[in-house]
Symmetry: C2
Subunit: 321 residues, 2 copies
């Protein structure tokens, strides 16, 4: 009853389901839980806090987990890659930036290089740089990304990269997503938002409850929150978050917000206080399909089981003689 693809073969996993290396939220425990359930957990190396990363690599114990980095941030402190590689991870994932400086050390350490891209052109470039797995991330995704939609991006990337396995990201929440991704030509999926609303995710319960309550119609892709937390990203990246009072007030007034240090200060305070009417909860359009807060292992199992049933039933469900 298992779904076997080139991704499961390459990573040596049971289900073609990867955890998005969400900054802070995807810690050692969450990544280890996803891997223990047969998926592939990735610790969110994020903006690169050495103390945090050291601790979370240790917290993952002997679980087979990877580490994901924000590439342009990693370029500022490349020694963090060495820290991750010392652990001998099966794979390192790089998102948002030029992977060229990191390909050789990753390969020399015997890890697979997973490159997340947002356009066909980036996919082709990543493969030229030696990507072993491409994550094609649609604009539905929570957090940083660009705007192309998953549904047309995935098959186009599959056509463009030849034999390199492609993983669909952005809008992935259940077994329907996984079965659909396979039909589009992908070899698996990567999910963030769905794993955010699990027991093991390193986030406060009120943030998880907001994800469960939220509607996919009510997310926004914007740079507002990067401005508010003084976290400047290079173009063309923007971040998708749940709408809240802060976003309602400041949307389409980015330039004005940049000149309001009082608002930036207030935003910092809200983050510290878990006040999510100001501070952003980072989540994608898949929130509609996130209706509970189970364990991450349960998420992996459900997703695999539902996809399996759909794929199994495809012939009977849709065909006449």
């Amino acid at each position: 009853m298992k779904i076997k693809t080139r991704l499961t073969e390459l990573l040596g996993i049971e289900h073609p389901i990867m955890l998005a290396p969400m900054d802070i939220v995807a810690d050692g425990r969450l990544a280890a839980t996803v891997s223990a359930a047969g998926g592939f957990g990735l610790i969110g190396g994020g903006y690169g806090d050495r103390t945090w990363l050291t601790r979370e690599l240790a917290a993952a114990g002997d679980a087979r987990v990877g580490v994901g980095f924000i590439t342009w941030s990693l370029a500022k402190q490349p020694d963090l890659l060495d820290l991750a590689l010392e652990r001998g991870p099966p794979a390192v994932m790089l998102s948002f930036g030029d992977v060229a400086p990191f390909a050789i050390p990753i390969k020399q350490a015997g890890a697979l290089m997973v490159c997340q891209i947002q356009s066909v052109a980036q996919a082709v470039e990543a493969v030229e740089q030696g990507a072993d797995i491409i994550v094609a991330q649609g604009g539905e995704a929570g957090g940083h990304g660009v705007s192309r939609g998953t549904f047309a991006l995935v098959p186009a990337v599959c056509d463009a990269v030849g034999s390199v396995p492609v993983v669909a990201a952005g809008g992935v929440a259940d077994g329907r997503s996984l079965a659909a991704a396979l039909m589009l030509g992908a070899d698996g999926v990567l999910a963030g938002t769905r794993f955010y609303a699990t027991h093991e995710a390193a986030a406060v319960i009120s943030a998880k409850e907001r994800i469960v309550a939220a509607k996919g119609d009510d997310t926004i892709r914007s740079i507002l929150f990067d401005i508010a937390r003084k976290n400047v990203w290079p173009a063309p990246y923007t971040g998708r978050v749940l709408m809240n009072a802060f976003a309602e007030r400041w949307r389409e007034r980015e330039a004005e917000l940049m000149q309001r240090p009082d608002e930036v200060r207030r935003y910092e305070e809200a983050r510290a206080a878990d006040d999510f009417e100001t501070a952003a909860v980072i989540a994608g359009e898949a929130v509609d399909m996130v209706c509970d807060i189970p364990s991450a292992g349960e998420v992996v199992e459900r997703m695999a089981r539902q996809a399996s049933v759909l794929l199994d039933g495809a012939t009977n469900r849709y065909k006449t003689g």
Copy 2:
């Protein structure tokens, strides 16, 4: 070997594939060709040119085709609906606006009411108004739309509308799209861009060739072209088109363009001259998968065949014991 769904049952068609009622481009001949091949053709009633519509309804002959309208435009000349209903179409499709004034006449004429929506909230509202079929259109789509991606919108809409069949639109170009849409819970697909690049589409060959040559990375969703052709749409609708020199020059300068009658005049001239470095070619992110200009019947057959093979092979391709 046929794919049978609630959509094929309801519309009495062979393949769950609908033609998007593209303004002007989806004329009587194109719609009739799609229906003859076993899909469901819809004439693009668009902004409502009575002479054009009368002619194209006649041109479709006795083919079983529907008619699609831009709802907010139809509200300004509701008698066009009567014109369409006189023909006894199996279905009328309404996109972009309040369908309430039209539900009763459509039903009384014995036609199905197909409502295209761009959010879950709109889907729920359309069903309350009596929609028989919901087309869930993701922002990947060419032409007018909004921004939610097809991949997460479709399953969310399926969950929200209960027993009403859902058709996926936006990013649909081949059998992979169709098979994936079914896995997401949809009962079929609606395609525009793919049918634009066919023999029968009512467009000049140079526009079709641009679609074949274009990359999905190079489309833009914007109001630039609506400004340039003095065609004001209500919020939140924007239109996706292929990037060209005009879009490069004016993007993010919408307010400035509004004050440039010389540019508007030049745009009109470019449209008349088929100069597509200024005039827009309306197309979606699925252009990557549009690599030739076959007949529209061939498109329907290929799409159905490829989806059929994918669904048939799902068990064998992805499962181990």
